[in-house]
């Protein structure tokens, strides 16, 4: 029973889809931040990724009287609605999906840049600029903004090798069974492909399984996200590169920014970019952003299953990068630079 203590803050956290392991890591990080900062957090999101249902959820959050809202913005049609909420006085921070034109800071990876990075890593593995042959690119959800940006970056890097012929981008579907079948078909149609590059969470795992089924396959597999299945594919050598989006920062940082600005009574109704960095993971090395402590593949796997380990690992980053978020705030143009 707190007496005259100031009212405990409540933060709304709205994701674009629930029941997605990657998003779930973000949610866990947000909850850790809420605990650290002693605020209440309300998490919600639509069952399927669609902007309008999500915007409705954000509006409902605002109507229910939360003090600030963090939300991903996967759809341009959310922009006006979010700005209306901001105008009415509820601060918002965006994460993971950027709404161009929303008057709120954005926490996320540099989507085009991460695509470039992936393209470059793959290119290095298949022989650099002198590589000759097919590289298959798959997009699981054509039209999804982040994926389109990543695709742009991947293709940009791969174009540096004139001998590389891009197959695709093909529609490889989100559903894991259909995703697997699509990659299987792609490799069967292009058996001599040098590499397979996916842009979504299920791809690395599917590519690994497809590779495993072809004895002696030398095709390089690369993609996104550090899900358990993807890490397993890296561990058994059937896939080779996966980029992580530091879900910890994507969840922790928005809550921190909201609470910090509310408590210090400063407005954050302007756009800006807070880079959450890109993790580069191969079976032999893990490169974490922002000069974090070195990490082995085994440690990474252990971390992906434990909140405690995760929080402990990122403690230094919380005390520096997160705390100094104002200093790290960059113009939004950096996101897709």
């Amino acid at each position: 029973p707190a007496q005259a203590a100031p009212k405990k803050l409540t933060i709304g956290f709205v994701v674009h889809v629930i029941g997605n392991p990657f998003i779930n890591q973000i949610i866990e990080a947000a909850k850790m931040a809420a605990k650290d900062l002693n605020v209440t957090i309300k998490v919600t999101g639509p069952a399927g990724a669609e902007g309008d249902a999500q915007l409705t959820a954000v509006q409902n959050m605002a109507a229910s009287g939360v003090d600030g809202i963090a939300t991903s913005v996967p759809a341009a049609s959310m922009v006006n609605g979010l700005n209306a909420i901001i105008k009415a006085g509820t601060p918002i921070v965006q994460f993971n999906g950027l709404g161009v034109g929303v008057n709120a800071p954005y926490v996320g990876e540099k989507s085009v840049e991460s695509g470039r990075l992936l393209g470059k890593m793959v290119l290095d593995k298949i022989g650099g600029k002198s590589a000759k042959g097919d590289v298959i690119v798959g997009n699981c959800y054509p039209g999804f903004p982040v994926l389109e940006n990543r695709q742009k970056g991947v293709l940009e890097s791969l174009k540096k090798a004139p001998g590389v012929k891009i197959v695709g981008p093909s529609d490889v579907k989100v559903d894991s069974a259909a995703n697997f079948a699509a990659w299987q078909g792609l490799l069967a149609a292009n058996p001599k492909a040098l590499a397979m590059v996916g842009l979504c969470a299920p791809d690395v795992e599917s590519i690994g399984k497809v590779n495993a089924a072809v004895p002696g396959s030398k095709t390089i597999g690369g993609g996104y996200d550090l899900t358990t299945g993807n890490l397993a594919a890296l561990a058994n050598g059937t896939a080779h590169i996966s980029l992580g989006q530091t879900p910890f920062l994507q969840g922790y940082l928005p809550v921190y920014v909201l609470v910090d600005s509310i408590r210090s009574k400063t407005k954050i109704n302007f756009s800006g970019f807070l880079n959450s960095g890109t993790e580069i993971v191969t079976p032999t090395s893990v490169i974490e952003p922002f000069k974090s402590a070195p990490l082995t593949f085994k440690q990474l796997q252990a971390m992906s299953a434990s909140n405690k380990l995760t929080r402990a690992y990122y403690d230094k980053l919380v005390k520096t990068y997160v705390k100094d978020w104002r200093k790290n705030l960059a113009p939004i143009a950096e996101e897709s630079a």
Binding site: A47, G48, E50, G51, A57, A76, P145
Partner: protein, 326 residues
């Protein structure tokens, strides 16, 4: 003469049971979070769900004809894309709006014509056309969002009214949708077209032999669905100011759910337009209520399911009780 008295006895409208379920739900959420009951909150809730309510009101036509359209979410999307691209291309706003609605009507007519020519149920045809409309949308918006940003466009009264920039005590979109429901209800139950739709749904062969032009009516009903989806599309564009490639992707289930929770059977021959409005509101209250009560995302899906079962259970119990009384 007991016959006479009986027929004049007061009859509850058939929507009674589902209205009761709605009131019960609102009451439960409101008693736990009184702010929920604030008029502006309820109005905003209704406004947020007004587009899917409108679609539910129209899919009642198809359901009562014994058909289902799987493509209307993508008709909505493509219509909005057409209107948005037209605006970006500099075509006057009102004409762009019209173009979007006409595009919707054409898509609906294509659905109907294919079903009639191929002699197949609409559900099978729209399994294919849904992908076609989505595909055309993806190609024409180059896999990106369509955002008519030009300030001149946004100064248009259409966008201002829908975007909530013109202050009305009741959101403009809500007024529009309620008006549409009057029209949809009236058309289904008081015009020859509606009469024919219901006759086809009751017994298609009997309708054909009674001289009802079943093919034409089928195409017309599909076209109506297309036009209303097109209207939904431009409303969306105005309401949200942009259309995304995923817009409309998840409309199918909530819209059909609204109609059947509202009391329209899938078997054809009967339908309630007002019921579908109540059904859409029930779907809305469930969604909003969960956020208001602060139910965690992990639990919200389960709670949604339980509340749906609860709502249709209440509906069913009231329905049975009512039939027993009268």
């Amino acid at each position: 003469m007991s016959k006479k008295t009986k027929s004049k006895r007061f009859k509850f409208p058939e929507e009674t049971s589902v209205i009761f379920a709605l009131i019960l739900l609102v009451g439960i959420v409101g008693s736990m979070r009184p702010t929920f009951l604030k008029p502006e909150n309820l109005l905003n809730l209704a406004a947020s769900y007004s587009i899917s309510a409108l679609l539910a009101g129209c899919i009642v036509y198809l359901l009562s004809m014994g058909e289902i359209d799987l493509s209307f979410g993508w008709i909505l999307n493509l219509s909005a894309v057409v209107a948005g691209l037209a605006m970006i291309a500099g075509i006057p706003v009102w004409i762009s709006i019209l173009l979007g609605i006409v595009a919707g009507g054409i898509m609906g007519a294509i659905n109907g014509a294919l079903a009639v020519v191929m002699r197949l149920p609409l559900i099978i045809v729209t399994l294919g056309t849904a992908s076609i409309f989505q595909g055309i949308s993806l190609i024409s918006n180059k896999s990106g969002s369509v955002v008519p940003t030009d300030e001149k466009l946004r100064a248009n009264i259409f966008f201002r009214a829908l975007g909530g920039e013109i202050d009305t005590p009741i959101p403009f979109i809500l007024i529009f949708v309620v008006f549409s429901f009057f029209v949809l209800h009236f058309t289904l139950h008081k015009t020859r077209f509606g009469y024919r739709v219901l006759a086809i749904g009751s017994n298609p062969e009997a309708a054909r032999l009674a001289g009802i032009p079943t093919k034409r009516i089928k195409i017309l009903a599909c076209t109506l669905m297309g036009v209303v989806s097109g209207i939904g599309g431009v409303l969306f564009l105005g309401f949200r100011g942009a259309v995304d490639p995923s817009t409309g992707a998840n409309l199918l289930l909530p819209v059909v759910a609204a109609a059947i929770i509202g009391g329209t059977p899938l078997s054809g021959g009967a339908g309630t337009v007002w019921g579908s409005l109540v059904g859409a509101l029930i779907v809305g209250v469930i969604g909003v209520g969960i956020v208001f009560l602060g139910i965690d995302a992990v639990w919200s899906t389960l709670v949604t399911g339980l509340v749906i079962i609860f709502a249709i259970g209440v509906d069913q119990i009231v329905r049975v009780r009512k039939n027993r009384i009268s």
